[in-house]
Symmetry: C2
């Protein structure tokens, strides 16, 4: 704390190193060719006098226009992906001041072809960076490989593609979230023998990666703590309200003793709606994600616990990782950014969304 010096500038560095500020800039950004000798000299001076670039001046003087393309599913109000959009929007706003423009390409998450098309359009638009929710792994991998050869940084949101080259990933630790779910649903009750797990049926699609990773975590917990417990896996429709009602009706007619229920997807409200309609109570229900319909169900006590993460903030951070990389040449501190697993109870949820 002894240093009250008025912050070194490039000019100070230039003077001390006996070069011009242009040269300092070159070595700071290893922009053009600089002789090894002066380079060394400048670098030495920089850390001697503790020079740190002024990001405000840097941003202000930047001429380059950057375009970031966002590839995510389109959505209805209240759905999971709306949270992602919120975060993207916030970053988009901030980006304006830095000459970064954001375009979003939406795809139909239930149609492989739609995803491929979005990827194609993205590349054709010659972006400087890409944010993608890579639901279809193989198609996404193609895109990402392409980006690698074109030196276009890619950030993943929600799911990650292993063994691919990317700038950063932002999303929940999926396996662990399933493990935690099991503990919250069954913990301390070694005698429970049955649990129902309802998930979204994605038809043609290769099983959703997020869901299956969560499922593995869930199984792992049972294995260790409750090996006798049986999981009934059932599939809900993403669209068809009535067929879901029938699904629940018939499942619980057949298995009236199943009192522990969860979904690994974001639609626990489908189940709690059924409970409301049928007046079912006394069953413990757990779900994921902070959409308002889930939160309502939690507040009413229909859902006993919600495991959430600040999806909106994750999306924002993913965008910022891209922006900072492009504008400030700053690589993210961490490549894999796992979100916290937030356990929401009806008594804590009111304070969950308040801070930014």
């Amino acid at each position: 704390m002894l240093k009250e010096k008025p912050k070194a500038t490039m000019e100070d560095v230039a003077a001390a190193a006996g070069v011009s500020i242009g040269t300092v800039d070159r070595v700071v950004h290893d922009r053009a060719e600089v002789s090894e000798k002066t380079r060394k000299k400048v670098l030495t001076v920089i850390d001697e006098i503790g020079y740190k670039p002024n990001i405000y001046a840097s941003i202000l003087s930047q001429k380059r226009q950057n375009t970031i393309i966002v590839i995510i599913p389109y959505f209805q109000k209240g759905e999971f992906w709306e949270l992602v959009q919120t975060g993207v929007d916030r970053a988009t706003e901030e980006g304006k001041g830095m000459n970064v423009m954001v375009k979003t390409f939406y795809y139909n998450q239930f149609e492989h072809a739609s995803f491929r098309a979005a990827c194609r359009n993205a590349i054709d638009a010659e972006p400087n960076g890409i944010l993608i929710a890579p639901i279809y792994q193989e198609a996404a991998r193609e895109l990402v490989d392409r980006c690698a050869t074109l030196s276009i940084p890619v950030a993943y949101i929600d799911t990650c593609i292993d063994q691919s080259e990317y700038l950063a990933y932002f999303g929940p630790p999926l396996f662990e979230s399933g493990y935690l779910a099991a503990d919250l649903l069954l913990g301390g009750n070694g005698h429970i023998r049955e649990v129902a797990c309802f998930n979204i049926d994605r038809g043609e699609v290769p099983a959703n990666n997020s869901i299956s990773l969560r499922h593995k975590g869930f199984e792992a917990y049972l294995q260790e703590h409750n090996p006798e417990c049986k999981i009934y896996d059932c599939w809900m429709s993403p669209f068809d309200f009535m067929s879901n009602i029938n699904l629940f009706d018939s499942f619980f007619e057949e298995h009236p003793a199943v009192n522990h229920i969860l979904t690994l997807s974001s639609r626990v409200h489908l189940i709690s709606d059924w409970m409301d309609i049928r007046g079912v109570s006394g069953k413990k229900l757990l779900g994921f994600d902070m959409m308002s319909r889930n939160i309502d169900a939690l507040r009413r006590g229909r859902v006993s616990t919600l495991i959430a993460n600040r999806t909106d903030l994750e999306a924002y951070r993913a965008m910022r990782a891209l922006i900072d990389f492009l504008v400030l040449r700053r690589s993210p501190a961490k490549k894999d950014n796992y979100s916290s697993l937030d356990i929401l109870s009806r008594y804590s949820v009111d304070f969950y969304l308040l801070d930014d």
Copy 2:
């Protein structure tokens, strides 16, 4: 999204309003006297063309030096206040680029006089803004009133002083955190008749406000859900290890059937340490705050639940509220910023500290 205009600048506004950019600046910041007529004109133009100031240019060109003074307890490594320090440090770093300098005045949280002295020194240093943890309410109120007359913005961290004039408050919703604690400790067990509540003895000090608010929340829950349940309130020493051991020993000798224990302070690790030493198990223990010793106890299963909030981020945000106000003339979106009540389990805690 139809507006691709290259972002209006002050110059655009000036041109359209037929005045100079100096005048535009004056009305934007209602800096000096401007005739009502031109003022109106400029304002109209501004929202017609949707002018938004460029914060980077603004920061870069600012000449004013701002000093923020932070008044917090001093602490040992691993204590609660270290978290606050972390957040302050981060903001301090960011402040450097904006000509804001931060000085911290530490006080002894167990000595009233020490707090008063810190407040006095703070005022004498003629700061432009103050961040304070107002543990001693009345003394703090004097300072804050003083600041109000001097137009020095004040931000509170951790606790708030009612009916005082302040820029922003950042801290947990205390009453609700006590309520939640009760639910997590006793929820679903209407038959529990006894619970032990250990807190830090602050001697001379008027009862710690945070703790008593939490306690009220805890009582409220019992009142509603568990009216038969009795609370044993006991006082731990903040310093004396052995006296605490004796305290726990004798308490549990006298009340062997008390299986539900909590502390409303941040030192649940004092209790779990005792459990380790005495090999006590089978008791459910709940505490607050994310210090590493608490987190260790949680990981080991000694503590069943920890209610935490990102104290470091709160401090950071409080500082930013001050900085943004001073540098960007931007008032905080909300005055009272309640943190979320994060419920940590041994299976979720590993992901709690990862994101920023």
